[in-house]
Symmetry: C2
């Protein structure tokens, strides 16, 4: 019915970072190492291990280096981290075996930028130009550009498409001026404001302004629309997604009172959707579910993933 | 982008029945009455209160009559129940104020039919012809025909489209032979096997075989595809859905080991999606979220609904 569905979808696993970063306490290293090692066996090609941020601000990530060194790195898997500034980048760059690449991060609103990075969105842009110099010094091409809060922001409300397109223009202009190829452009629904139709319109607009560039999505399931947004993106031919095993993660600023807002779109549920739609992912769903269950055991409370609790129909399918 | 999206979507609320039916124990009447009364204030036009089934088989529903009599019935709201046979129908028919209508239920597999109704799918068909006579005796037209396990069955596996179409043919033939208008045809993903593309194909096929009939969907979020399936159905112009506040429900036969499989698609999350897509529902989302939180308080554990935990972005939108 839809001919634009991609044939292969690539998942960038963020569970170890998104899931544990939001926890108030630091979980024992041993469990997190086992968890990442389990993910390494699933067929995932990229795993975001930790955030290299201020340990005082994010104590749960204060052992990022130790964790990185303790995991068993599997050949063919790229182990990455998150950094928000040059200092964070240099921390990860100092680690043997870390996958390094050039990445710039833009915000659509001052409020979110100030909260996350203690600078306005415009100041953040200027900092990204400095980051490009740092990547150049390491010989790393600009590979990814993230537009955060690309659909809405809990602090500033709805984000108009024109603001996103202005961020896109900034990326395009930099690349043109500095003679760089366009990076992958990630639209991040940081706090779960996207809806399937708005998402399609935004993809269409960004695609129109960045011919040839690959578009990726970072989606959250904050308000129950994650799977619908994922499917809408597939319908637009999008083949690159950030996701979290077991649906780990969730922005603490997105929750009502003492509740927990749901996390990122759930890797294994979305892999399952792909399989049902005939889209390849290179991921072993059984192993992914096992990793999700391990995460739940470590975190110690039910996690949002669905298929990890309901089981896989293909097992039944084979049995009958 | 998609012009087939409906302008108005009708939700049949099943939370009070789906949610409490699967519980091992019977919850106190008072809380369930308060819950249903809260739902009555949301703008919902139809609420399924209870199952009128064998109290020995389903003890949690053994006070169905008492519950029905205790709720405050609001004008304009239709209070219904589930029945599987003539005896169940006569129980609800005896209740003052119950909304009665003709309904037939078909299975795609013998295994599920035997488990739910202790008869084969073919025997079930014959029983439905008897049910039609019972409805005729009450002067009730055939309003709904349900095809259960229309996408797959945990006991028998994948259900081919031809099996569903054979059920559709049975409905069409009965209506032609008995000179009845076609009922609403509900495709029920009883244990969460549907995927967005397969769903679209099935809707297309059923629509082709039943010109003019309204198609409804009963969807479960068992494997995390509920919201995607809901959106895919909207794309096909479907405007009639069963759903459960807070995502209550979930077939006990769909869970892995001691886990709980996710329940029906979540009313307030899907209402939120509709609002974001510019589709009207007649439902007050704030009141719906309040009812979901009340359900969680009564059940006493976190329920699957997302927006009930993350809160409503429109509040923020208004504030800024």
């Amino acid at each position: 019915m839809d001919n634009r569905l991609p044939k292969f979808v690539e998942f960038h696993e963020e569970g170890p970072r998104e899931g544990f970063q939001i926890e108030k306490r630091r979980f024992p290293l041993e469990g997190r190492v086992r968890f990442i090692n389990a993910l390494s066996e699933t067929g995932l090609k990229r795993i975001q291990v930790a955030s290299f941020v201020n340990p005082k601000a994010v104590p749960s990530m204060s052992d990022a280096e130790e964790l990185f060194k303790a995991i068993t790195r599997r050949e063919g898997v790229r182990y990455t981290g998150v950094w928000l500034n040059k200092r964070g980048f240099e921390r990860i760059a100092a680690l043997p075996g870390a996958y390094l690449y050039g990445k710039i991060v833009l915000y659509t609103t001052d409020a979110f930028s100030l909260m996350n990075n203690n600078c306005t969105a415009a100041q953040m842009r200027r900092k990204q130009i400095e980051m490009l110099k740092a990547y150049d010094a390491y010989g790393l091409p600009l590979q990814e550009a993230y537009i955060l809060t690309a659909f809405g922001c809990n602090l500033s409300g709805h984000v108009p498409l024109s603001t996103v397109m202005d961020c896109v223009k900034f990326i395009v202009d930099i690349c043109r001026n500095q003679n760089r190829p366009l990076p992958h452009i990630f639209l991040a629904d940081t706090v779960g404001w996207a809806n399937p139709e708005g998402l399609k319109r935004q993809i269409e607009a960004v695609r129109g302004a960045t011919p040839g560039a690959r578009i990726g999505l970072h989606l959250h399931d904050t308000r129950g629309l994650g799977a619908a947004n994922f499917y809408a993106a597939l319908e637009m031919g999008i083949d690159l997604f950030d996701s979290s095993v077991a649906g780990l993660g969730g922005c603490p600023f997105a929750a009502f009172k003492d509740n927990r807002a749901a996390g990122n779109i759930c890797t294994e549920d979305m892999v399952f959707m792909c399989e049902e739609l005939g889209i390849q992912t290179g991921i072993d769903l059984q192993k992914m579910i096992a990793a999700a269950r391990l995460a739940e055991k470590i975190i110690g409370r039910p996690l949002p993933g669905k298929i990890m609790h309901s089981g896989l129909p293909s097992i039944l399918r084979k049995a009958c």
